[in-house]
Amino acid sequence: MLLQMEGITKRYGSLIANDRVDFSLQEGEVHALVGENGAGKSTLMRILYGEEQPSEGRIIVGGRERVFATPSDAIAAGIGMVHQHFMLFPSFTVAENIVIGREPKAGVKFDRKAAAEHVKTLSEKFGMPVDPWAKVADCPVGVQQRIEILKVLNQGAKIIILDEPTGALTPLEVEWLLKAIKRLAKQGISFILISHKLNEVLGSADRITVLRDGKVIGSVKASDTDAAALSRMMVGRELAKFERKPVVPGEAILTVDNVTVLGDRGTKPLLDRVSLTVRAGEIVGIAGVSGNGQSELLQVVSGLRRVHSGKVTLGGKDVTGLSAGEFRRAGLAHIPEDRYLWGSAKEESVADNAIMGHLASLSKGGILRKRLIREKVARWIDAFRVKTGSLETKAKHLSGGNMQKLIVAREMAHGTPFVIAAEPTRGVDIGAMETIHEALLKRRDEGGAILLVSSELSEILKLSDRILVLYEGRVAGELSAGDATEEKISFLMAGGSGNETH
């Protein structure tokens, strides 16, 4: 056994994040760790990586008991971790990011050329192509992930922890990553993989351990189980089934007409004459490899970015060039792409985070109605089962999945005719995912118009009535729910021309 964690317990005050957890890993094994939001997965891994100290329990690596006081200790013992939020230096080059800590030297000088060459050999050895001289800020998320893994490999890691590595990746990138993991496992590298996506886990892991409320519920071989059994173990109950009722779309709620957005440096347009319509009672899904204009489109239809030409109407009103506030008044709710960048203020309370955009209904004469706020927010939190200490808890103390639920609750509470749902279930567990999907479909059934952007093709396929694919800032094709398959979408996403071009 390469690694054994025995009886790990971690307490935060009265909260027990890990409760006598046993966990093991063999050489060349891919061991997946699954569980609901807040089950204690990240905590366990932070303990292994020396970022946290266990309250009880011991860690044995290669037959020897170890104490990891800092990440450096863990790195020295051959353990590497790829955090969910990448730990990269955006303004540095790829090579610099990979070799940092083990830089090749020429005297006192940092030999950047040698670093680039080293990275090149490394990337060839592990079959993970990167451009050593590119700036990390300019790399797509999938490549950034690759850089993280290469960095860890370069540190000589034999055990690599991946905390929700696929959350922000496109399907192609995910597929590529999972293949790479398998290949590396054959080369003798062991992986611990945290994920909420059971199909990924089932497809790539050798063994799966399920955590619930900090305890190990069970550890099974991937070949001996299936998604249904796993989710039962995770959630501890059967998931509700839902159905998508047929709805006849009504009038157009959002129209985007021939919109162009130019790049900052006057380079090629980020959005190039994009047109689309979302009608009452339909969910329009936008698919595309990230960096092809989804973010810009989202910003345009939420009033956060100016268009250079073209027109946007919302609820029959021309909102082109208006502010985000005006968009919201015209009937917009918006689940943002990045919950921390746009969707929340980490240092503020849960209540303050929950009322953004609701001020008009929660105030009177410019004064906030505190009691009403407490009642309302408490109701939203209940409805989406957001786990939080209190309404005064700072938002940063919520686990990522719970933050996401809070945002969805806030935006759905607007009851607006138009909803943008960008990556609505990123990082949430399957139970919460069902709740969110149900809420979106319910809104659609009630006549809401929903623009769904997701890098998760299964989500797009499951929810959308129509699907548009963005490629290089243009609408590369449109598919109806009936016709759409993963293959067709993937083909369009890769730049192939569709059969129903716009």
Binding site: E56, S344, A345, M356, L359, G366, I367
Partner: protein, 356 residues
């Protein structure tokens, strides 16, 4: 209903107290080093600040401009804008107030109101200029506010040294004295404490209420906390920034105004810069983590250290310079909140011990 967490409460109080203790200890070493009596020196310091009704009033008088600038700065800080321009805003506010009080015709109260309006407007506009340079030209607010201070101080210096100088005075660079009727009333006869103090306290309470209970206050807090979140929620950054910079400057301007109407009764070159009110105000805000009520307390602490220092100067052999050494070491250690991190470390060490 709510159980009060006494230990946490005691800890939050213990932290600043211990910091004060360490600061006093360092000061004691300095006093001892020059052969002064530590006990007497601190007793005189206390007496100088709060030893009599008169001295307490003097301390509060000195705290008044510090409170008002601190409030102004904390408003800008809360909105996420690092306004280091309080000094210039204060100077222009004071100058404008003096001119209004001198030249606006009419009875005293009219002059006074005109002065307050002019002072707040001048301070606000000067601050707004920096805000505008940021929104319009993306100029770093930190740099512009610092630079605008110099410009304001020199401009005001020129105006009172030449065109606006008191006619036939003693030669000081100062305006003529205001008419008695425009003076702010004193709160207690025979002390220096004027009505401005009440306004400052009221402003602190209002600002605290404004920030927690109003929609605009909410927007300002969110803007400061995460500007993208605010933008996403429909808050207009540019507009709100200009408004908060305007208000921030107006409060600094008001601080200057009250110095003119309440203590000096004219504008004198350097009357605001040499006591360093603006920097004390910024310090008070930072010590209090931009909390309006906390800023009031911090401002009074800073003022008390200064007036207390004068008490030491008057009544002991300890040289004046030592009192600034004591003051700065107090500020240093209060800012570091020694206990807090000390406790945190002990916990971390205990946790490590467990692990080993």
């Amino acid at each position: 209903m709510k159980r009060i967490n006494w230990t946490a409460y005691a800890q939050s109080l213990a932290a600043p107290l211990l910091a004060v203790g360490v600061g006093l200890l360092v000061g004691a070493i300095a006093i001892w080093a020059v052969g002064g009596s530590v006990g007497t020196t601190y007793a005189e310091m206390w007496k100088g600040a709060f030893g009599s009704f008169y001295f307490t009033a003097s301390t509060l008088t000195r705290a008044t401009p510090i409170i008002l600038t601190a409030l102004g700065v904390s408003l800008a800080f809360r909105a996420g804008f690092f306004n280091l321009g309080a000094e210039g805003q204060m100077v222009f506010g004071a100058l404008a107030a003096a001119l209004a009080a001198l030249y606006v015709p009419g009875p005293g109260p009219v002059k006074m109101l005109a002065a307050v309006a002019a002072g707040m407007l001048a301070g606000g506009l000067w601050s707004l200029l920096a805000g505008w340079l940021d929104t319009r030209f993306r100029m770093n607010l930190l740099i512009t506010t610092l630079l605008l201070n110099y410009i304001a101080v020199y401009t005001a210096g020129y105006l009172v040294a030449f065109p606006l100088k008191e006619k036939g005075g003693t030669g000081g660079a100062q305006t003529a004295m205001l008419d008695n009727s425009a003076w702010l009333p004193k709160l207690f006869a025979g002390t220096t404490l004027h009505a401005g103090f009440i306004v400052a306290i009221a402003a602190a309470v209002l600002l605290a209420l404004f920030l927690t209970f109003t929609t605009k206050g909410y927007e300002i807090r969110m803007l400061g906390s995460n500007p993208l979140f605010a933008a996403y929620g429909g808050v207009k950054r540019g507009q709100l920034m200009l408004v908060s910079m305007l208000l921030s400057g107006a409060l600094a301007g008001l601080a200057g105004t009250f110095e003119v109407l309440g203590t000096q009764y004219r504008y004198i070159d350097n009357m605001l810069t040499s006591p360093g009110y603006a920097w004390s105000g910024i310090m008070a805000t930072l010590l209090a983590g931009s909390n309006p009520i906390g800023s009031v307390l911090a401002a009074i602490l800073l003022a008390a250290l200064q007036t207390g220092g004068m008490g030491v100067e008057r009544n002991t052999e300890v040289p004046l310079e030592i009192s600034s050494v004591i003051q700065s070491s107090l500020i240093l250690f209060v800012s570091a909140r020694i206990t807090f991190s000390f406790i945190k470390r002990r916990k971390a060490r205990a946790a490590n011990g467990n692990a080993a």
